[in-house]
């Protein structure tokens, strides 16, 4: 436990000094603000970029606030996910290269504490960023259009948070198992893309798949997901998370020989 808190302090300092704790939330907030704002100014943007004949009148219906929140989530799924993967791809693989690992691995290190301290810090920064981004988007949507009921919004963001934690665990697992940071990012992105592809091809009946989490999050803003299916999805997500973390710890230990001295 003492070792865990020492390692957690190290992670905290690292995230502070490489500014991850500042720039990742800023990126998510910018993504969250841009979506409702560009929808609000869509008529002016269309006007300024031209392409419409003189006197053409188009009536754009006001977008539903729920649609805007789902659009913000779509941005997070694309750019946000890429930012998180790139930011944390080197957590373990990078330490083997830059020498930090040499300082750590010569000591009697508990690899469980080592992995979990990184996991906790990365999850905390990611969740903080995602919530900050969602709240910024929620605020702008409420000011410019109308507010989503706050309870539905919280359920939506909370369900999406589970998905984010799962992705962070996957990144750390990849970082522990791959020889360098680039391959770790490649593995994570490839896994996410391939799984999403398979899911969209064959997965119409896989109601319990963790990949459904973003869909269930979005459906909280609509009629609400099937409680039974959501509960099973959460159970399976938790199982995936534990398996990924356990194999990640095992790989972190096995790959210690790959450290560059």
């Amino acid at each position: 436990m003492k070792q865990f808190s020492a390692l957690l302090l190290k992670e905290w300092r690292e995230n502070l000094r490489n500014y991850k704790i500042f720039w990742i939330p800023v990126v998510f907030i910018l993504l969250g603000i841009t979506e409702p704002l560009s929808n609000y100014y869509l008529p002016q943007i269309l006007d300024a970029t031209g392409g419409l004949p003189e006197g053409a009148v188009i009536e754009l219906p006001d977008p539903e606030p729920e649609q805007l929140m789902v659009a913000v989530m779509g941005q997070f799924q694309l750019i946000g996910m890429l930012v998180l993967v790139l930011a944390y791809m080197g957590s373990i693989a990078g330490e083997r290269r830059n020498g930090t690992a040499t300082l750590l691995y010569v000591r009697p290190l508990s690899y469980t504490s080592y992995f979990l301290s990184k996991w906790l810090m990365a999850s905390a920064v990611s969740l903080f960023s995602v919530w900050a981004g969602f709240l910024a988007g929620y605020y702008y949507t409420a000011v410019l259009f109308s507010a989503v009921p706050f309870g539905e919004f919280v359920a939506f963001a909370a369900t999406y948070s589970v998905w984010i934690v799962l992705v962070v665990t996957l990144v750390l697992f990849a970082s522990a198992s791959m020889p360098n940071a680039g391959l770790a990012a490649g593995l994570t992105l490839a896994a996410l893309l391939v799984l999403q592809l398979i899911h969209s091809l064959f997965g119409s009946r896989w109601e319990w798949s963790p990949l459904r989490l973003p869909n269930y999050a979005a459906s909280f803003l609509d009629i609400g997901p099937d409680a039974n299916a959501l509960a099973w999805t959460l159970v399976i997500s938790l199982a995936c998370l534990i398996i990924l973390a356990a194999t990640g710890i095992w790989f972190a230990k096995r790959n210690r020989a790959k450290t560059k001295v």
């Binding site: 720039w23 800023v26 910018l30 702008y140």
Partner: protein, 64 residues
């Protein structure tokens, strides 16, 4: 077209982007060994807004 409301709405985006740029520039100045020439990174950070600072933090910092 640039009425007061528009300015108030867009101001947070501007502030955040400038903050991100300043974070990146301060870090670049204090970084003894960035991944590539410093003037190149300075240009990327200042000219490509949002993407420039992210690129610097991810690739230019050499923290892995």
């Amino acid at each position: 077209m640039m009425d007061e409301r528009t300015i108030l709405l867009v101001l947070p985006i501007l502030v955040l982007q400038i903050a991100l740029m300043i974070f990146a520039l301060v870090d670049l100045v204090r970084n003894p060994n960035p991944n590539g020439p410093k003037w190149m990174w300075a240009a990327i950070i200042v000219l490509l807004n949002l993407i420039g600072p992210i690129l610097y933090f991810v690739i230019g910092r050499r923290n892995y």
